[in-house]
């Protein structure tokens, strides 16, 4: 993609807080209509990147462009085009759902006659219409996030920045939320979001894996998986933790990750190592119920890149 076509262009931005280098030389470009995911453990720098994109935090160095507009030089031009939903969207809890929407609509200079119509439409899409008159403080966590999204979308932004929008939201609301995001993408809105959920990361069109303020890898989910060295075996059994420890240092094992009742074992050659691992576990008194080759998830890729401590 040519730089001038990018809806969001980030080149070599850095930001430090005192001695903490929160973001170091981060660059990426997002095409119009993409859903771009920032994935990384706590403290990786996701929020800092999004805040700089939103223009509430100035980078120490680097360049940021939204729709070709330099965010640092012309923030007033960039603001009407973008929308930023912080990790915890600021709703006025003493005001009703409708009052919150009207407030943000006026703040973003949505023309009077459009306010009602667009608010209505968004509320319907979010399934919040029956709660128009309820105080925002009395909504559930999931409904609050959806109301935040409605407020963030009221001025029809071209670029939507979402910081962990579904953290702490129940699965049903999360599904609704993603349905809205897909709908937005259809209408050409560019979305940059950060997430701690791996299943959510897989729904993005492209991902940047962040660690300690740096991008470790950036590609489509499929591209990232294809690029992972070696193959992945899932070992199931009654004592996954014991098996995890027993397999450390076995020949051909490049990485181990405990995933619930499975152990994910990254090996150089799946066909050759699967029987070896079974034998080695049996010799140590474990009886694995199955050992299968699987598709790696985003978490496996992270661990493959950075080791187990970087697990998001």
């Amino acid at each position: 993609m040519a730089p001038e076509e990018a809806a969001v262009l980030v080149s070599r931005i850095s930001r430090r807080f005192g001695t903490v280098e929160a973001v170091r030389e981060v660059s990426f470009a997002v095409a119009p209509g993409e859903i771009f995911g920032l994935v990384g453990p706590d403290g990786a720098g996701k929020t800092t990147i999004l805040r700089m994109l939103a223009g509430v935090l100035a980078p120490d160095s680097g360049e940021l462009r939204l729709d070709g507009i330099d965010v640092r030089a012309a923030p007033e031009q960039a603001k009407p085009r973008l929308s930023y939903m912080p990790q915890r969207f600021g709703l006025y809890e003493d005001m009703t759902v409708a009052e919150n929407i009207l407030f943000y609509a006026t703040l973003f200079a949505v023309p009077g006659r459009e306010r009602r119509e667009r608010g209505q439409e968004l509320l319907r899409a979010a399934g919040l219409e029956p709660f128009r008159r309820r105080l925002a403080g009395q909504l559930s966590g999931g409904m609050k996030q959806k109301l935040g999204l409605v407020c963030a979308l009221i001025h029809t932004p071209r670029v939507l920045l979402l910081d962990e929008p579904t953290t702490g939201v129940d699965p049903v609301s999360r599904r609704d939320f993603w349905a809205i995001l897909y709908g937005l993408r259809e209408s050409g809105v560019t979305i940059v979001l950060s997430t701690a959920y791996m299943d959510e990361a897989e729904r993005c069109s492209r991902l940047a894996l962040l660690h300690a303020g740096r991008i470790q890898a950036c590609d489509t989910p499929a591209g990232l998986k294809a690029a992972m060295p070696g193959a992945l075996l899932a070992v199931a059994g009654t004592d996954p933790r014991g098996m995890h420890d027993a397999l450390a240092g076995a020949p051909g094992v490049q990485g181990l990750l405990l995933m619930g009742d499975h152990v994910h074992v990254r090996v150089d050659d799946a066909a050759r190592r699967a029987p070896e691992l079974r034998a080695s576990l049996a010799a140590q008194g474990f009886a694995p119920s199955s050992i299968m080759e699987i598709e790696p998830g985003i978490e496996d890729i992270f661990v493959a890149l950075l080791g187990a401590k970087a697990r998001p």
Binding site: R51, A54, G55, V56, L57, A58, E76, K79, P80, L82, S83, Y84, P86, Q87, R88, F89, G90, L91, Y92, E93, D94, M95, E99, L102, F103, Y104, T106, L107, F108, A109, L135, C151
Partner: protein
Amino acid sequence: MFDRLQAMLMKEFLELRRDRWAMFRLVVPLLIQTLAFGYAATFTVRHVATALLDLDNSQASRGLISRFVATGRFNIVDVATRASEITRDLDSGRATAAIVIHAGFARDLANGQTAPLQVNVDGTNSNTALIALGYISQIVSLYESEHLPTIRPVSTMDAVPAVELSLAERPWFNPGIEDTWFFIPGIIGTITLIQVVSLTAFAIVREREVGTLEQIMVSPIRPVEFILGKTVPFFLIGLGDVALVTAFGVLWFHVPFVGNPLIMLLGASLFLLAALGLGLLLSTLSRTQQQAFALNFFLVNPLFILSGFAFPIAAMPAWLRWLTVINPLRYFLVVIRAVFLKGVGITVLWPDLSAMALLALALLGLSVLRFRKSLD
């Protein structure tokens, strides 16, 4: 611009209306503090426990004693017959003051000589004692001025004082003014300052804490619009405070209001702008409501002490006096007391009014500048 400001104001109004306790929190502490200050914080001392020893036992001495009793400020707890009883009364704490009229008082007074009157006060509560002493000297000098002309030829009047008191009176004691009159106008400034500074600081810090501030800042709103939206309601609340306490002082405590209400309005407006600037500045220095609370606490006390509300500025060491120069409350107290009690106008008050205008400008300017930076 106008739309966004209107939206901000509408929002503030809605939040205030939804907050069931808001009116209670705004008004009740105000009234309680006014009442507390109006009744308790006063230089007036009543019912001083007093022991009497009249060794002259003349018409003149009894006349003087009846004056003491008539004021209602002295409770005669003991009419002694010997000096040792007086000492005992003071030592045991039964009496705070003792008045001894020595033998020959009437004769000396009639002869135009120095008539001996001794006053002993219990120095452990020096404030009360000195105030009591002030009353005593006032009563005595009144008595003296009433009796002398008929007793003594006018020509010798400006010789030695007829009644000699053993202790001097406090220079600041000003028996001409009712103390409530002095205090109530002061309370208006002090309470309004406390309320407006803390309301402003807390309101903005709360938006920061809840996350709505960041949300608003990504909108095309300008910091000035946001600040106006946040401060106009508190400006109005502050004016309401001033009006309420003024009405209370005039109607309840019968403080005279002899000046021009428009000058009061001008002074109050300038003062409120400075207070809002201070509140804003506080909000840019605090990340959390706790921090704002602590800062507010540290700020309000010195402002109060260095205002001349209760402690005269002239009596402060030079470096403290310099600090009072940047205290808006100092100027407002001058304006408000002058408007209330003296009725003087702009011609006299313009230095104080300009000082407040300058402070307001500086504080608001500084806080708007800092406000931008504090968003990072």
